[in-house]
Structure formats: structure tokens, C-alpha cells
Symmetry: C2
Subunit: 153 residues, 2 copies
């Protein structure tokens, strides 16, 4: 019974443990070795802006699964490094549109190559269908938790 408890308790560490920590650290190290002075968290924000420039901070919260203060400070730090700038929305002055600078556009290909390379290293010996299954499981986990959150609130 205790054994059963522990086995299930370990599921948390599976989802939130060794693999994600190891991948994050390796990606950060690969950035650093390439002389890139950005964190993976900053990179993940840039990543969404490369897909669609000029997103609001609120929209970045949704897409990166972060809360508002986290995005505020990530944008602060990205702005310090002149990688993005905040531009007030012309139609709603509450909204900051976050826009990439030329410096950030230059980082795109290098960093995405590094991310691909890192994931390739990480996924040696993992089949395509296994990756799809992990994605699908995680999508269900996310849906389970966010849907019940809304119910509960």
C-alpha cells in the first residue's frame, strides 16, 4: 500500500523531473557555449514572437504558460538586452505590443538550430510515434487540469 503510494507519487517526478531538467540545462549550456547570452526562458518568449511578432504581453502569458508578472520581467530583461521593445497599442492604451528588434531577428536561426540539435541529442533512440504519444499524453494532462481549474473557480 505504501509501495503503491510511492509508485504513484513518483509520477510527479516523471512529468516534472529528470528529463525536463536535463533538457533545459543542456539547451542553456549549448546557448552559452555558442556565446549566446540569453536564458531559455527568454528564448521561449522570442520563439513565440518569431512565429508572430507584436503579441501583447497577455497573449504571451497564454502562449508560454506563464503568469503576468513573469512576462513583465522577462520582457524587462529582453528590453534591457535590446531584443524587444514595448509599443503601446494604438487602439487600447492598456496594451503593450511586444516587438522584435533586428538583433532578435538575427538570433532566430542560430538559436533554433541549437534547439533542434539539442532535441536531436536528447531524442536519440526515441521513435517518432513515441514522441507523438508523449505529446498526446501531455495534451490530455494539460486539458484535464485546466478544464477542472475553470470548473472549480
Amino acid at each position: 500500500m505504501i509501495n503503491n503510494h510511492f509508485r504513484r507519487g513518483e509520477l510527479y517526478s516523471v512529468i516534472n523531473g529528470m528529463a525536463s531538467t536535463a533538457v533545459a540545462r543542456r539547451l542553456q549550456k549549448n546557448f552559452r557555449n555558442a556565446g549566446l547570452d540569453i536564458t531559455i526562458e527568454q528564448w521561449s518568449v522570442l520563439y513565440h514572437l518569431w512565429k508572430e511578432d507584436g503579441l501583447s504581453q497577455q497573449e504571451l502569458c497564454v502562449r508560454t504558460f506563464r503568469d503576468k508578472p513573469s512576462i513583465t520581467r522577462l520582457i524587462d530583461n529582453l528590453e534591457k538586452q535590446s531584443l524587444v521593445k514595448r509599443v503601446a497599442s494604438p487602439t487600447d492604451r492598456r496594451i503593450n505590443l511586444v516587438q522584435l528588434t533586428d538583433a532578435a531577428l538575427e538570433l532566430q536561426h542560430i538559436t533554433i538550430d541549437l534547439a533542434n540539435q539539442t532535441m536531436a541529442e536528447a531524442l536519440v533512440g526515441v521513435e517518432k510515434h513515441e514522441i507523438e504519444m508523449v505529446k498526446s499524453v501531455f495534451q490530455r494532462v494539460y486539458d484535464n487540469l485546466t478544464m477542472t481549474t475553470h470548473e472549480v473557480l
Copy 2:
């Protein structure tokens, strides 16, 4: 080609994104709602001590995938809350053995139940064999990265 890049880049967010964030937040919220004033990181340390009490800080680093300063400060905070105490090893005075207090022993069943309950919510609609596959994939990812780390260093 850019599309291909982006699709692969997204793998990082799969491993380190929505699902793990959502599970961590839910577990933390469930602790809080139960009046438990510990963080999930503190809980993850206690979890390993419940399995084996009196581990050294170094051993806790290995088991929780954290670096030494992280463990130092987690133990600091756990000690402030009187959940663990540091005891110098009798055979090697460099080593701190971390021992659970009675207060921590009392938390064990409640928090493990909450973790089980949280994982049960998270895993609704996920088959046992899918969980096993995720575990297996993550183990390979971890091995890939830690083995090449040692090679490289």
C-alpha cells in the same frame, strides 16, 4: 523548412512546458488548499527522505536532480520550518546527514495522498501503457544527455 524547424523547436516546450507547469501548479494549489505551507520543491526533498531518512545533501542532489546550492537552501528552508535537521556524519565531518523530524513524518501520508489525487486528476483518460511509455522515453532522454555530458567533460 522553417516549418520543420519550428515543429522540432516545439519539442522543447512539450517536455518542458504546459503539462509540467500545469501539474506543478495544481499540486501546489492542492497543498495550499489543504492548509499545508510547503512548496512542491520542499515536498520533493521530503519525499526522498521518507523513502530513506538520513541521506546526505550530496545524495539528495543526485536523487532530486538539483545542484548543491539548491539543496543547501531547500534544507535551510526546511530546517526553518522544523521539518528536518542537519546532523554531522560521525565518520566524515564534511557530510551533513539530513534527518526528518516528527512534524515531517506527520506530513507524509497527507501530502502523498494529495499527490496521488493530483496525479489521478491529471491522468484521467491516460492508459497505463502510455504512462509507461512516457517514463521510458524520459529515461532515455535523461540517459542521452547525462551520458554525453560525461563524455564531453
